[in-house]
């Protein structure tokens, strides 16, 4: 399934005319944007602009909290399936699209149990397969060397940065098509942040990433594409180099030069 080519852009997913809201009021207005395979796409914008809301549409997280309205589509390729469609099971969406949260949220169980949980809910029982998967994911998340000798100790005893990498490994273990990152470094110190950023750049070889961040430098450093959102609208989408050096929209320029937000 993984394509090796990187020079031209293959769409992994695409948001098409997405309008979203809980009740009457729309939180997202007619958003359209592509997500390219094996790239990092960043969502930026002032708080309350809807970037996290958009991210949480991708794994139907909103469905957990009662009635919601999705108009428009999020298409997942190559299946070409609208994951917001009514007859699509949100649980299957979450099985294909992983997520890492703002605050590291390991389960208060062992490191091993954390990583293997995604496999457990998928009904995987084969011990050797799970063991391999745990090792593999921890290696991908750059945590294996630090924890290989204490896989069965509690995950909550790890430092904040290690916990966040554990959460990344936990999501990777289920081989997601798309990995959602919701301000993954906002609760971390600068060194751990640098670690995670490096990791994100490394990970795009094997997975497609969509990341919300409030840190513009982070977006500029790690993202191939950047989308700027404001008050529920997608103001501008483009390659990061273009957005940060030569924005087309006045609002984007005002935001990245620090005039508001």
């Amino acid at each position: 399934m993984v394509t090796t080519k990187t020079d031209s852009n293959i769409k992994k997913a695409e948001v098409v005319d997405l309008t979203f809201g809980y009740t009457e009021k729309n939180v997202l207005n007619k958003i359209s944007m592509p997500i390219y395979q094996n790239k990092v796409t960043a969502l930026i914008g002032p708080s309350g602009c809807g970037k996290t809301t958009l991210l949480r549409c991708f794994n139907r997280m909103h469905d957990l909290y009662g009635e919601v309205r999705y108009n428009g589509e999020i298409k997942l390729y190559p299946d070409d399936i609208n994951i917001l469609a009514r007859d699509i099971d949100p649980i299957e969406v979450r099985m294909k699209i992983g997520m890492v949260f703002q605050k590291p949220n390991p389960f208060p169980k062992s490191i091993y149990e954390n990583i293997s949980y995604g496999l457990k809910v998928r009904g995987v029982k084969k011990k050797s397969y799970i063991d391999d998967k745990v090792e593999d994911s921890l290696k991908k998340a750059g945590l294996w060397n630090e924890v290989s000798d204490r896989l069965h100790s509690s995950a909550t005893s790890l430092s904040g940065g290690q916990q966040q990498r554990l959460c990344i490994a936990r999501a990777l273990a289920t081989e997601p098509d798309l990995l959602l990152l919701d301000e993954p470094t906002s609760a971390l110190d600068p060194i751990s942040t640098a670690h995670i950023e490096e990791l994100v750049t490394e990970l795009k070889k094997s997975v497609t990433l969509l990341m919300v961040t409030h840190n513009l430098h982070q977006a500029a450093r790690t993202a191939d594409y950047t989308a700027f959102m404001y008050l529920g609208d997608l103001v501008e989408f483009g390659e990061s180099s273009q957005i940060f050096t030569n924005p087309k929209e006045q609002k984007t320029e005002n935001y990245i030069t620090g005039r508001f937000g």
Binding site: D89, I91, E92, V93, K96, R122, V124, T174
Partner: protein
């Protein structure tokens, strides 16, 4: 690449998905039935009490029930003046509250405003042990410790009396009043407290002029809980307050509450449908009526409080 986890999206008709959804649905329904059973229990309680109490009024007129001078349903010439039992109930409740409300409130202020977290963490569970002691033990204590003690002060105190039952009940209820009040006081936003202290007010002024008024609805609902506990308390009054229903507010004499009457009659042989059987249900209905009123008042106050703090 490993294809073990590669899933495709299933149609709603797919067996796998149907099985999963069915399983989740069955679990949800079972859990709902469990939660809803509590409603059935309430209806069961109210319905059984009303059903068994109703035949009483086939034999006794409402007028007699409300106006008879005495409550002697098992005597040769029975009288059915329910106010004799209501009077005993409210007398012991009033004595209990005159202990529990002041002491409970002071304790709450003290724990919430004067104690450090560390001491509060230790003292609160110990205080709550007061509510954990079985009530029959309190009954023993009231009858065989407090009454003899009080008789040294009032030699004419009868050995069964409303006073010692009420006092012991009051001590028993202190934690109900203090715990809820303290929770309410500690829910008062810190900035109100700091605002007052910054103006140079003492801890005491802050407590009584800022904290208690802001937490008033929480404290009031603690009082209401205390009242409904006192009304429904059974063993202490059954053991220590006596078996003589009367319309009197003299705490030094013996009396009888609704609950103690039920206990007294239940101890004997009680055939289904006898007048004794019917009267305990009538007493139960009256008791339930009063406690439900206080419960509803408490709920009203509490929901007002929730709105205020949101």
């Amino acid at each position: 690449m490993d294809s073990k986890l590669a899933t495709t999206f299933s149609k709603p008709q797919s067996i796998k998905r149907r099985v999963r959804e069915l399983k989740e649905l069955v679990i949800r329904i079972i859990l709902f039935i469990c939660a809803a059973s509590s409603v059935l229990i309430t209806f069961g309680v109210v319905w059984t009490l009303l059903k068994e109490a109703f035949p009483f009024f086939m034999e006794v007129s409402v007028k007699n029930f409300l106006t008879d001078k005495e409550w002697t349903p098992l005597f040769e010439n029975p009288q059915y003046g329910i106010f004799n039992l209501i009077c005993g109930t409210f007398l012991t409740t009033a004595i209990a509250l005159s202990v529990a409300i002041p002491l409970g409130t002071i304790t709450a202020v003290f724990l919430s405003e004067y104690m450090s977290n560390r001491y509060r963490e230790i003292l609160k569970p110990i205080l709550e042990l007061l509510a954990a002691v079985p009530t029959v033990v309190y009954g023993y204590f009231a009858l065989l410790f407090v009454t003899p003690l009080l008789q040294k002060i009032y030699p004419d105190l009868s050995s069964f009396n409303a006073l010692s039952a009420g006092l012991v009940m009051g001590v028993m209820i202190i934690p109900y009043v203090s715990s809820l009040s303290e929770d309410a006081m500690r829910a008062v936003p810190v900035h109100l407290r700091e605002g007052s202290l910054a103006l140079g007010a003492s801890n005491l002024q802050t407590s009584f002029k800022v904290i208690i008024p802001s937490a008033f609805s929480g404290i009031a609902s603690a009082y209401v809980l205390g009242i409904s506990r006192a009304l429904g308390e059974t063993m202490v009054v059954a053991i220590a307050a006596g078996l003589q229903p009367k319309i009197s507010l003299n705490p030094l004499e013996s009396t009888q509450t609704l609950t103690a009457y039920i206990v007294q009659v239940s101890q004997g042989d009680l055939p289904h449908g006898s007048i004794g059987y019917k009267t305990i249900y009538v007493a139960g209905v009256v008791l339930l009526f009063f406690t439900l009123i206080f419960n509803l008042i408490g709920l009203r106050i509490r929901s007002k409080m929730e709105i205020k703090f949101k």
